[in-house]
């Protein structure tokens, strides 16, 4: 280390082995203690569908499911998720769990640049798992931590509303 003062780095270069079940598969990786879960997912596991927008839990772009609940992956260190079941947009897509939401978002063009969309879908999935028939007001309230600069939100609310109605009518869920 060319005479470099070790204390300057603190423990930044020390890594910890963590294990997750990501999108149904067992994964182990070496992470620095300071590495956030979103960086770990994007950089180490190449799951780039999860996005970093504000790095402080305000925008919702980084939402993933941890043990079935929507969590901000930018507010969590990767080491804190050790042992957890993590589902990202990639896994939710492959399992078909949000296929109806994705189809309705597409049909109504409830996205433009798409950067907020994975987080929106994770949150919409969470909402519909808690409330079968949310009102528009409840949908807007549930999305109040998901920032979208492009759409003006209305089509997103419409799409979630339509899926909630279709699911209720279908009785499948």
């Amino acid at each position: 280390m060319r005479g470099f003062d070790e204390t300057l780095l603190d423990e930044a270069d020390e890594t910890v082995r963590v294990r997750f079940v990501v999108n149904g598969r067992k994964v182990a990786c070496e992470v620095a203690p300071r590495e956030t879960l979103v960086d770990c997912l994007r950089d180490k596991l190449e799951l780039t569908g999860t996005h970093a927008g504000c790095e402080m839990g305000a925008c919702g772009a980084c939402l993933v499911q941890i043990d079935g609940r929507a969590v901000h992956s930018c507010l969590m260190f990767a080491v804190q998720a050790d042992g957890a079941r993590i589902d990202t947009i990639e896994g939710l897509t492959e399992s078909g769990a949000i296929a109806d939401l994705q189809a309705e978002f597409h049909r109504r063009n409830a996205l433009q640049c798409g950067f907020c969309t994975p987080g929106m879908l994770v949150n919409a999935c969470e909402l519909l798992s808690q409330v079968a028939r949310p009102s528009r007001e409840q949908i807007r309230d549930a999305l109040s931590g998901n920032y979208c600069r492009c759409t003006g939100y209305e089509a997103i609310v419409d799409a979630i509303d339509a899926v909630a109605k279709a699911r209720s009518a279908g009785g499948a869920r």
């Binding site: 280390m1 060319r2 470099f4 300057l8 930044a12 270069d13 620095a32 300071r34 590495e35 950089d43 190449e46 799951l47 780039t48 569908g49 999860t50 996005h51 927008g53 504000c54 790095e55 402080m56 305000a58 925008c59 772009a61 947009i89 990639e90 897509t93 994705q102 978002f105 597409h106 049909r107 109504r108 063009n109 996205l111 433009q112 640049c113 798409g114 950067f115 907020c116 969309t117 994975p118 879908l121 528009r136 949908i139 807007r140 309230d141 999305l143 109040s144 931590g145 998901n146 920032y147 979208c148 600069r149 492009c150 759409t151 003006g152 939100y153 209305e154 089509a155 997103i156 609310v157």
Partner: protein, 791 residues
């Protein structure tokens, strides 16, 4: 040969149809490919040390410790990059007398705003690069700072640029004459001073760039989250001395842009230089605080305006002073004076009066640069004009709809030239006004307002007419010497299997460029939309063009695609005619088949023509050289701009105890000419309106007296979120431009143009019973309470 554009019942008629975007499914599946996702072999990461001072001399920079840190590959200062990058200056020739200091990627000896990048570190990963930043010592010597408009204009003000005589970047005057006379003879005069806070684009994906210089090939490839790849190809080529053909800029998926990502940023230029110095790919993604302190800001205007009217409420004249404070530099290459220029030229635009005078003064200060962001100048011009019209209406006892109906340019009076020189081909203010009044249920809203006031509930109703600049010709930038194209190019091919590929210079930011281009090409050629593949955003493969800015994609890019598709169709039918021994004029293409034009009887599929041309040209008559690839360019001619118009309305409620404003419902009637995809147009309007509503109520970049941005995070800088935003009702009036076959005009900025004006008028309408008024944007609870003398 070509059926009318609007007939939706003929086969393959896609123009005018609401269809989902074919390319959106990838984004929904988390398969977007944003520059921030990109990882290249041997890629390194850059981070920047930023100035903590708004204005200071750089005395010394110590980088030894940073250079010694394991994993650090390069530490570069201004001097290092100045050896390979030529400086740039953000002026344009048609803004006579404007000045701006030359800029370099990193400063040599002086910092001019808090947050300016000073030293770059390139390391194995971003975290290591940021560790190294902490090991750099920069010794600064404070210089006097300029952080407000009034201070900057004083004779003894400190100077942002010490060599200059004042802090004025640009001054201009417009005067159509007889303004003093009109005011002297006016029955009524209204007068007000307005202020518009700084705000910024806050794209969800921050600025992102990966520069990849290959010294062996002498080739620079830049993966850049931008709207305008060709502009950057030109700039990287010229400032780094690399032949244009060896610079490739690739703009893939981008997480929002809104005008913010088409300017030259110091960090982006630096990253290109860092890659050249290292011969390796270098990536930089701004984090959120970096975005707030280094993305361009917009607005920051103070406007004093007067309006003269006759006894009946006819507007006679306006007299305006617009002061706008930019940064320490004018932004390159589009400058920081376009917004002010558009403010003074768009004020009063919907109305008939002839006597207009305006002064614009653009002032330097020690903050990050301002420049073009969605609806450049429009929200300010619209808010000033529309608030004055409402003030005049109140003075004369006229209804807001009535005074506008009396004063807008009549729908049958076109063409018209505004007192500021804008030429309007055809607008539809009267039709839009009428439609909005019906759509809002205006009389019902007024009755409800009166009823609720009795119960101490204060609702406001506001309307705002607007004119939007779209489809710009070279009059916008080209005439000023900027190498920014106003034409577009397309290459359309029939592939060997009978599908169509269209490479086009307009770019996709999620607004649906690729969708509408495929609709136009499929419609004009006569095949199913899914058989048209559109490719955008790569200077190596798509022809040079303006790309996306100033609402030009549909109007200019769309016309380019239309003309290119028609040319390819002629070529296909020429070969079909040879094969079928017919005249080309007797044939048409429907659903991918060549048919008899008269009977529509199917003759042969175009895939068969492609097969013969590509693989059995020996069976064609001797001398036949089939051209199944067409390259076509289109430059707008006729009117210098295709102006659009519309009107917005809103209903809101003011809580007079807390100053909080609840938006209840928003309305817009808009005329963007031919609508190619109604669903996408409505999305543009809604998204644009919500950006305008954010500006109206929440968004402001707030600075301390020492020039520090104090709210640079998404917790402190408020953006519109779903809970606060209303549903938005939309209606259209269609006045196509006759300058193109397609007839489309732009629509991306219409929503933002008038939303804040509309809210300003509605809030003031709600405050009427208190004799209180607000004339500052954003309209924060504190400002409302201050107006009510309750704070």
């Amino acid at each position: 040969m070509t059926a009318p554009l609007t007939s939706l019942d003929r086969p393959n008629s896609y123009i005018g149809r609401s269809l989902p975007r074919p390319n959106a499914k990838r984004l929904l599946a988390g398969r977007g490919r944003y520059v921030s996702d990109l990882r290249l072999p041997r890629m390194l990461h850059a981070a920047f040390l930023r100035s903590p001072h708004a204005h200071a001399k750089i005395v010394s920079i110590k980088t030894d410790e940073a250079r010694a840190l394991e994993g650090v590959h390069l530490v570069a200062t201004g001097a290092d990059l100045a050896t390979i990058c030529t400086p740039w200056t953000g002026t344009l020739d048609h803004f006579k007398g404007m000045t701006s200091a030359p800029q370099l990627p990193l400063p040599l000896d002086r910092v001019v705003w808090a947050g300016q990048a000073v030293v770059a570190v390139v390391a194995e990963n971003r975290a290591t690069a940021e560790d190294a930043l902490e090991l750099i010592e920069v010794d600064y010597e404070d210089l006097p700072i300029v952080v407000d408009i009034d201070g900057a204009r004083e004779a003894d003000s400190p100077l942002v640029n010490p060599g200059s005589v004042s802090n004025v970047c640009f001054r201009s005057q417009l005067d159509s004459g007889a303004v003093d006379d009109a005011f002297a003879h006016a029955a009524h005069v209204v007068e007000e001073e307005f202020s518009f806070g700084r705000h910024t684009a806050v794209t969800l994906e921050p600025r992102a760039i990966v520069a990849d210089y290959d010294p062996a090939a002498g080739m620079l490839t830049v993966h850049h989250g931008t709207q305008t790849p060709y502009q950057f190809q030109d700039l990287y080529s010229r400032h780094y001395g690399i032949p244009e053909a060896r610079v490739r800029v690739i703009a893939t998926d981008i997480g929002g842009s809104f005008g913010m990502k088409l300017h030259v940023y110091h960090e982006d230029m630096a990253v290109v230089g860092l890659s050249i110095l290292l011969g390796r790919p270098v990536k930089y993604v701004a984090d959120r605080i970096e975005s707030f302190v280094s993305d361009i800001h917009a607005r920051d205007h103070r406007v004093r305006a007067r309006m003269a009217l006759d006894a009946k409420g006819e507007i006679l004249a306006m007299d305006v002073l617009d002061l706008t404070a930019i940064g320490a530099f004018s932004t390159y290459p589009r400058t920081s004076v376009v917004e002010g220029n558009q403010v003074v030229r768009l004020i009063g635009a919907p109305y008939r009066f002839r006597n207009y005078r305006a002064t614009l003064e653009v002032i330097f200060q020690n903050k990050v640069q301002t420049s073009q962001y969605r609806a450049v100048g429009h929200p300010i011009a619209c808010a000033v004009t529309e608030r004055m019209v409402d003030m005049a209406a109140a003075k004369l006892g006229l209804d807001p709809f009535a005074i506008r109906a009396q004063n807008v340019i009549a729908d049958d009076a076109y063409p018209q030239t505004s007192p500021t020189g804008y030429r309007f081909e055809a607008l539809s203010h009267e039709a839009c006004l009428k439609r909005l009044q019906e759509m809002m249920g205006y009389d019902g809203l007024r009755a409800e307002q009166a009823e609720l006031r009795k119960r101490g509930i204060y609702r406001g109703i506001g309307i705002a007419t607007f004119v939007e600049i779209t489809n710009p010709s070279p009059a916008f930038y080209g005439v000023g010497g900027a190498r920014i194209s106003s034409q577009d190019g397309a290459i359309v091919s029939l592939t060997p299997s009978g599908e169509v590929r269209c490479l086009i210079s307009v770019t996709e930011q999620g607004q649906g460029t690729e969708a509408i281009i495929s609709q136009i090409v499929a419609d004009q050629l006569g095949l199913a939309q899914e058989h048209v593949k559109v490719i955008t955003g790569d200077t190596e493969v798509t022809p040079h063009g303006g790309a996306t800015w100033a609402c030009r994609g549909a109007g200019i890019g769309g016309e380019t695609a239309l003309q290119a598709a028609r040319a390819l169709k002629r070529n296909i039918l020429e070969i079909a005619a040879l094969i079928l021994q017919e005249q080309p004029s007797a044939l048409d293409i429907i659903d991918g088949d060549v048919v008899d034009a008269g009977t529509r009887n199917r003759r042969l599929p175009i895939s068969e023509i492609a097969r013969i041309v590509y693989f059995r040209s020996d069976t064609l008559p001797p001398g036949t050289q089939a051209q199944l690839t067409v390259s076509h360019h289109f430059a707008p001619q006729g009117y210098p701009f295709a102006f659009t118009n519309g009107i917005q309305g809103c209903s809101l409620e003011v809580d007079v105890d807390t100053g909080f404003i609840k938006l209840l419902k928003h309305f817009i009637v808009e005329d963007c000419g031919r609508v190619i995809n109604p669903m996408l147009v409505d999305e543009q309007l809604r998204g644009g309106i919500v950006q305008g509503l954010g500006a109206a109520l929440f968004e402001e970049c707030r600075y301390s007296e020492t020039g520090q941005l104090v709210n640079g995070s998404l917790a402190d800088y408020l953006v519109p979120m779903p809970m606060e935003m209303p549903d938005i009702a939309i209606a259209h009036v269609d006045t196509p431009t006759a300058d193109t076959e397609l007839g489309a005009k732009g629509v991306g900025e219409a929503g933002t143009a008038a939303a804040s004006a509309c809210v300003l008028n509605a809030v003031n309408d709600a405050l009427v019973p208190f004799g209180a008024a607000v004339n500052s944007i954003p309209i924060t609870p504190a400002r409302v309470l201050k107006a009510l003398k309750r704070f």
